[in-house]
Amino acid sequence: MSTPYAKLPAWADYGLIPLINLSVAFIVAGFVVMLVGENPFRAAVILVEGAFGRGTGIAFTLFYATTFIFTGLSVAVAAHCSLFNIGTEGQAYIGGLGIALVCLSLDSVMPWWVIFPIAIVAAAAFGALWGLIPAYLQAKRGSHIVITTIMFNFIAASVMVYLLVGALKPAGSQAPQTRNFLAGAELPKLNWVIELFGAKIRSAPLNICFLLALVMAFLVWLLIWRTRLGYEMRTYGHSPKAARYAGISETRIIITAMMISGALAGMMALNPVMGDQHNVAIDFVSGAGYVGIAVALMGRLHPVGIVLAAILFGMLYQGGAELAFEMPAISRDMIVIIQGLVILFAGALEHMFRPYIQALFASVSPKSVGMQAVKGTGA
């Protein structure tokens, strides 16, 4: 009686079940669309076409996805160490501060390929430091990380407002943002890649941060499953007592995991700041940190899943914007409802359909669910 449910084959676990959950989410969303008097099928077509139909749409979808990959990875790294980092939002915001300092001081003297690596380091360092304080409080004082990281989001927001209406704002400007960066701090776009496939792009913010995000996804996989540090993080994440037994320092592992998580969150800021806006404006993170929680959960804390979930949320963002434009009855808030449904079914109710699927698998092909492997044969 070790596990209540048997194992499913990997493709069903990671493919079929998320697909079913997603379908149910969209069916329910369809009813909501019907309720406001619109045709759900047309809405679905507009959503998908808006996200993937034209080159510009794809570029926007991937641009949003880039942001969510970073925040999703950030949440996942902490979660593997059983730390619920809700502070990704604030860490990304403060990461933007690091980028601003680098870009504002170097953009007139250096090309982008020099500034970019420096900015990566600065963003990661600032994000990591913003994660360090809650981590220290958790490790040394037992202050719960959920509480402290939420509070640090507010502190980050206030600090940034203070700086953006003060020290960082150009004299005489009315807008609470930094001056626009010069060409030296603008990252190359990736739109030409999509154009290679024949699609036309008018103007879209997709930039090389997308590639950086994919590299980071691979590095996170390497970290979690192939390094000693990742092993220690997972051990602590599953069982702090086992970690203590194994000689893993609680303080060290909490602080390390949170700093890596914060660094990834901070790097998220590169995408909108250097890749799109070319300045640091108030509230530029705009909830991406919280979306990262949903992305990480939906991606089952695995980098591949996170990339896919990030693209899904990118699609909802981009396609949702199109939808709100095309169907006046569907407002921005409706899009948030649809996103909420996706999170509900794919995240919170993830295991709702699992028992049925497993029963189905067990009756169709007992071997595929490892029947004979589950009970030890005595010994």
Binding site: K7, R234, S239, G247, A359
Partner: protein
């Protein structure tokens, strides 16, 4: 034979793909004590949970008193006169006995009338069955044996005619267990029917009228207790012959490897759990620590292995002290040759969500053998895990399988393989065979004795008196945090039982 109190006919139950019960047929005669034995995971608890309404059977029929019934919740079961005493008590610690008994059976919005009624009813029950419990005592102040009686009272108060007890003696001293058995016999004489789930075959022999054996989800046999033997039952449980007591030669004790002096440990609340304990363990001997669970053994093990802070005293490993501030690095102690098989393998000794190979390096993951720079050397880890699986006959032999999917015995073998293969000088083992099937017990005992014969110092803590007596060269008995006696391996169970119960009738013999 008397009329059947319970009949289970063709019960099937699956969890996902796991078939926990297959075509179970069971008939329990009224007014008898019926034992159900089987290894862990054989499906005993599932079957009883179906009877008590926690689970629904996928198919099959339940008859109580000859009539087919459907039991969907535990309330249904109670209404049918079925009561259950769980392995882990379901009591509110800071309520009185009386309050616990009426919990869930209060008749009015105001408690007064329920309490008055319950008090007189309890009085009657206690007189009738010899269940002496003060109704106004607070649960947390009662010893475990009495808490268990409260559970029995609860069931009787609800009018139970059929009483199911799940592993009732796991937490009791031998004397308390004897008392429980007297109560059960008295209940039987009054016409109650009792179903006793246990894995302790001696208890089955001592008290039951009939016994049913389960193995891997099926009911393999039902015997009249008088006509069977422990050997036969063990064989039925495991499916092959087993040695119940391991053969071992004389020990050749060498130099002192582990020395504990005046060790005192307090728990988080400041209660003294280990009180001025001193003993030595020499190379080539197994020292067993007997005692009822909760008398400081766990804290002692944790202090020695550097996980728990000790208030005072010292522990020497090969003549050099161990840091007892609770900040000791267990990794460093491992390097010094101290291996520790913790009592709680589910939360401490293993990470159940890990693959088998990942657990086979837990605690030794800093070892260069398993690393390439900061990276894990996956090939080396896999090779090492396969090697251990073969040596320790861990089944299924799949290092990629999630640890939670191994049986208890095989999980314990994973821990033992990991710790023993490091070739430690001192091995400390907590509950070596808790929740382990009979077949694996034999294997584990043999391994521990082999360690001893290689000249290692082995310290075993166990609540199973049989195990302690069968393994140890010297037996220390712990009671209330103190070592209250030392005996040789030939000490009788009664003698040890008295010590375990805190009756010091003579000074500890050296």
């Amino acid at each position: 034979m008397a009329q059947a109190a319970i009949e289970l006919i063709g019960i099937n139950k699956s969890f996902g793909a796991v078939r926990a019960n297959r075509d179970i047929n069971l008939e329990v005669a009224r007014g008898t004590i019926h034992g159900i034995v089987g290894e862990n995971g054989a499906g005993k608890s599932t079957l009883m949970s179906i009877l008590y309404g926690f689970y629904q059977a996928d198919s099959g029929e339940i008859r109580v008193g000859g009539k087919p019934v459907s039991i969907h919740t535990s309330n249904d079961a109670i209404a049918l006169g079925i009561g259950m005493v769980h392995q882990h008590f379901m009591l509110v610690d800071n309520f009185t006995v009386l309050e616990n008994v009426i919990l869930g059976a209060e008749s009015d919005a105001l408690l007064k009338s329920s309490i008055t009624k319950a008090r007189s009813e309890l009085d009657r029950l206690e007189r009738e069955y010899g269940l002496e419990v003060d109704p106004d005592a607070v649960i947390e102040e009662l010893p475990v044996g009495l808490q268990q009686r409260v559970e029995i009272l609860k069931a009787l108060y609800r009018g139970a005619e059929i009483l199911i007890l799940d592993e009732p003696t796991g937490v009791l001293t031998p004397a308390e267990a004897d008392h429980l058995f007297r109560i059960l016999k008295q209940l039987k004489d009054q016409g109650k029917t009792i179903v006793l789930i246990t894995h302790k075959l001696r208890e089955i022999m001592a008290i039951t009228d009939t016994v049913s054996v389960m193995r891997q989800g099926t009911m393999v046999a039902t015997r009249t207790t008088k006509e069977t033997t422990v050997g036969e039952l063990a064989e039925l449980m495991v499916g092959r012959r087993v040695l119940l007591r391991v053969e071992k030669g004389q020990s050749e004790a060498g130099a002192v490897k582990l020395s504990v002096k005046n060790l005192t440990v307090k728990d988080q609340r400041g209660v003294t759990m280990v009180d001025n304990v001193s003993f030595d363990v020499r190379g080539g001997e197994i020292v067993g620590i007997a005692g009822v669970a909760g008398n400081g053994q766990s804290e002692l093990l944790e202090a020695i292995s550097g996980i728990r802070h000790a208030v005072s005293g010292e522990v020497m490993l090969d003549g050099k002290p161990i840091d007892l501030t609770g900040k000791a690095d267990p990794g460093e102690l491992r390097d010094r040759g101290l291996a520790h098989v913790p009592e709680d393998r589910h939360h401490v000794g293993l990470v159940l969500a890990f693959e088998e190979n990942e657990n086979s390096i837990l605690g030794y993951h800093d070892d260069e053998r398993y690393l390439k720079g900061p990276f894990l050397d996956v090939d080396a880890i896999m090779a090492d895990a396969k090697d251990k699986i073969e040596k320790y006959d861990i089944r299924p032999a799949n290092p990629r399988l999630k640890t939670a999917n191994f049986s208890g015995g095989n999980q314990q073998k994973i821990v033992l393989a990991r710790e023993m293969e490091q070739d430690p000088g001192v091995l400390i083992v907590g509950q070596p065979t808790r929740g382990v099937d009979v077949g694996a017990i034999e294997f584990i005992h043999k391994r521990l004795i082999a360690m001893r014969d290689q000249g290692k110092a082995v310290l075993v803590v166990s609540v199973e008196l049989d195990e302690i007596r069968s393994l140890s060269d010297r037996i220390l008995v712990m009671f209330a945090g103190r070592v209250v006696g030392e005996r040789g391996p030939d000490a009788t169970e009664g003698e040890l039982g008295l010590l375990m119960a805190g009756v010091e009738h003579q000074e500890a013999a050296e």
